[in-house]
Structures are given as C-alpha cells and as structure tokens.
Symmetry: C2
Subunit: 302 residues, 2 copies
C-alpha cells in the first residue's frame, strides 16, 4: 500500500540534521495541534501557534503549547511549514483570511480524519499542500488536551497525489518522524475506505447499541441493565457515545465509504441473527471463532 | 428492582462475626472459582477446591487457590456451602456424580451468566440452591486466571425464587459481601433480559463488525485497515473477538432475550443508515448526542 517516493532521498538533504529546523506554524492548538507543539519544542523546533481568541491563547501560553501563541495570522508569513490542526468542518470551509495568510512557498499540511474531500478543497487553495492524518486518540479535546508523546509509534498517514510537491511531502514526513510517528503513505481513496471501516462505521454500530437498549420497555430491566453494565459494555459503546458533532462530520464527509460498510455489516449481522433464530449453534460458534481470529490481525488488537 | 428479603435480618444471626466461617467447597477453579478461593482464604475461610484432573489440581495448589484441592468430590460432604464455578454447559448438564456428592443440608449456588435455565435445572436437583451471578471480567480463563479482589465493587446478582430458602440466600449474600461485591437481588427473568442487552447482544454486534471488515474486496484497503486500526476499533471489537464457545453458549441459553435485543438493534441501526443515506445530518447528530447521553447513565461508563 506504500506509495514509493522516488525523490525522497534526493530531497532528504533539505532536512538533514545540519540544516536548522524549519519554523513551524500550527493553526489550532487542540489535542493534535497542542501535542505537536509540545513535542516539536522539545526537539528544539520553533513553533508559532495560532488560535481564535485571546482566552484560548492565554491558556495555550500557560501550557507552553508553542514557542509563541498569537490570535493574529500575520506571523504565518515567516513559517516554512504550516500545520492546519483544525476541526474537519473548518478545514473544509476555511476562512479566506487563513488562506490569504499562508505564504505560497511554505509547505501546508492538515491533520483531518478524511482525506479525499480535504485534498479536493486544499489542492486548489495552496500549491504546496500535503494531505496528512496522524492516527492518535481523540477522547480528549480542547486547549487543555495537548500531551507529550501522543504520536509515538502511532501511524501518521500521508496521502500524496500527482499534484503533491515531493519536497513538501519529505518535510511533512520529517516532522512526523520527529514526533516518533510511523509514516504510512497511501492514496486518499484507500485511506478513506479503510477509515470508514475501522473508525467511522464503528461509531454507528456502537451508537445503535446504546439506542437499542434505550428502547427496552420494561423499566426494571432497563434499570438493571444500567446497574449491571460491565467493562465489556463500556468498551463496545465507547466510540458510539463519543463526540456527536465529530461523529456526524466524519460520516457526512466519508458518506459513501460508511454506507458501503453499513451494507456489509447489516448482511453479517443478519447471518448471525438467522443462526440464532434457527438454533444453528455450530454455525454461530464458527462465525464467532472467525471473528476472534480476524481480530488478532489488526494493529492495536493484540 | 431489588427484591426485599423479609427474612434477611432474622437470618443474619446465622452469619454474625462470632459464628465460625462456613466451610466452603468450590467446584471449578477457573477465573471465578480461583479468585473466590484466594479472597475467601484471605478472609480466613476454609476452602475446598474440586477440579477435574490431577494436572489442574497441581497447578491450583501451586497458586494456593484453595486450602485443599481434590479431584475427588467426596470432600464436599463436609461443606456448609458449595459454589458451582463451572462453565455454563456443564452447569446445565451436571454430572450425576456431582449432584450426588452435594450434601442436602448444604447451601449450593452457581455463578452462571444466565439464570432462568440454571434455576430450572438446579431447583429440581437440590433443595437449598441459590441462583447467583458475580459480574466480574471474563477476559482471562483457566486455573492460572485467579486473582485477588476480582469482585471488589462489582455487582453480585442473586435471583431468589419462591422456592429459594431464605437462610440459604443470606449465606450466599454473606459470601459475596465477604469478597467486597455489591449484592443486587432481582428475579431471574429480569437478570436474563438485562444480560441479553448489556452482555450477550454486544458480542454479536461486535463480532459482525469484524466479519464485515473481512468482506472488504480491495486488498489494499483491507491491509490498510489492519495497519491503521486504533484503540477505538480495539475497544469496539473486544467482546466480539472473545471466547467463541462461551459467546455461543450464552446466546443459546439466553436465545429469546438476544433475539429481542437484535430486533431492536437492527431497527435503530436502520434509522441511522437511512439518515446517512438521505443526508439528514441534523437527525444523525441528534441520534449520536442521544447515544452519548444514554451512555453516561450506565455503570462502568462514566
């Protein structure tokens, strides 16, 4: 799945240890932006953080999320690399002032969880845009969420297109490696299809479980269910009970992939239901065994 | 949901601190039986463990899971209380030798995760049987799985029937409290309905997700999904990738409850799918918000 980068070694000279580190701008200092700011400063990079208002700026400064925190976009003019660590909806509808503030010679990358729609917008807005998605936990959010080593050992997906400047991609890769992430290069469509299956479909599967239990008509059973729910239930429903606005947004942005996944999911669930309904217990056990075997092939599931 | 126990205070005198602790037999020293043996011994109770073969007995003795470990059932004759910590299938089809070895005056209780079918079998086999279900984690299994404090703060469900001897129930309640569990009394049908929703339905919902991803026809996407799967995916699929034999068994034993849950689940998932399909994003976000609100009302989900 890795897209070979022919120019990687030639371009690497731009980022050898003897070169001074690039000056990085981070727009948005939430979980991803803030954590990135902390790690890059620890690696002696100079980081300019840009946030929306002075209250947030104050808290970001208190947490030392960047070398300098501004509410003004003007400082981006001095940056070699700008990371757009913005929520998906703002990334897809960027303010004109932000687009105008980005120097044309700087490398610009995002951190959005859906890639094809982001590239469709940003490749027309900036000549050196690189699509990127660091796959780090998203339970925490906001300017207090930044933490060291968030990206360590986690995948950092890069989705080059024929329009991607190879030098620009090398610089983003260098940044990802600097925070100890594992770079995975693939195309945006493959990323979005995979993300539909492992990130976006689970949100709906998990939320439907919470909603189905709400339908229990017997008040005693409903109350007992709440009292007896164990860690297994908590795990199965975690992503379905998460940030609703983000869940809606990724589903909307990755709609076709999610619908494709839902159709397959529905077919598999129906098979299990038919086995239970007909009392075909060997078939059910075989299916559950297969599910268990499959699970061990996934990263983070071992 | 708590069934008032009119005789509880009167019978409590039988188990006051001045009374010597009852002699307990535990048949089966897996996760539940072994953990119980460790905690009860720490409370100065005498525990006889009975296992199937000498190899297991040897390992149970090495781990000090009971004061004495036998492969012979004869020792149960001296016990005041016998805990049947057996897998559900053996509990529902108990060997005649086990039934014969249980003294009629002893209290007998189980730890099975489905209660009505167990009571249907055991109330005809023993006059002082008490249906019980300690809700403790089941990821580990076998004679090496026993651990201290497994039950601390966890629900220990008791399901009395009109045939339950009140003194027998008080003794089982005393044992549960001795290992710091929280006793919840309810009827078997309500327990089984609640368990279908929070324990057994999630297994199928979660397994179907693993099976659906297996159906991905694009090898690059399938491989990328395995590589990028994060902690959210690991959590959502944990119970579906667990012990297949146990998953089948609880589904078979609690079939009607599971089928009822599956029907409601399917209806809710279809609503979400229709919202995605028709692009009704406000409706989707509202449903996800509702799911998130519901989740906070469940124990272990805060």
């Amino acid at each position: 799945m890795t897209v070979p980068s022919a120019s990687a070694s030639a371009s690497a000279s731009a980022v050898t240890p003897t070169t001074p580190p690039p000056k990085v701008g981070i727009v948005g200092l939430g979980l991803i932006g803030g954590s990135l700011g902390l790690d890059l400063q620890a690696a002696d990079w100079t980081v300019l953080g840009v946030v929306q208002n002075e209250t947030t700026a104050c808290r970001a400064r208190e947490s030392c999320l960047a070398s300098r925190v501004d509410t003004d976009l003007a400082g981006l003019a001095e940056c070699d690399l700008v990371l757009l660590a913005l929520p998906l909806d703002r990334l897809l509808n960027p303010p004109a002032a932000l687009v105008e503030a980005l120097p044309p010679e700087a490398v610009v990358a995002d951190v959005g969880s859906v890639k094809a729609p982001v590239l469709a917008v940003w490749e027309t807005l900036h000549p050196r845009f690189v699509g990127a998605h660091p796959m780090a936990g998203t339970a925490a959010a906001g300017v207090e969420a930044g933490q060291r080593h968030l990206f360590r050992g986690r995948p950092w997906v890069l989705t080059p297109t024929p329009r991607t400047d190879p030098d620009a991609m090398v610089l983003v890769q260098h940044l990802a490696e600097r925070v100890e992430a594992q770079v995975v290069k693939t195309d945006a469509a493959a990323h979005d299809s995979a993300a539909a299956l492992i990130s976006h479909l689970p949100i709906l599967v998990s939320a439907a479980l919470l909603l189905a239990i709400e339908d229990e008509p017997d008040a005693e059973v409903a109350s007992l269910a709440r009292e007896l729910a164990s860690s297994g239930f908590a795990d199965t429903t975690r992503v379905g009970g998460g940030n609703a606005a983000l869940g809606m947004l990724v589903t909307r942005t990755n709609r076709l992939g999610v619908l494709k996944g839902l159709r397959r999911y529905r077919a598999r669930l129906q098979e299990l239901e038919l086995a239970v309904s007909a009392g075909r217990w060997t078939e059910l056990q075989t299916a559950l065994e297969k599910a268990g075997e499959r699970r061990t092939s996934f990263r983070s599931c071992c």
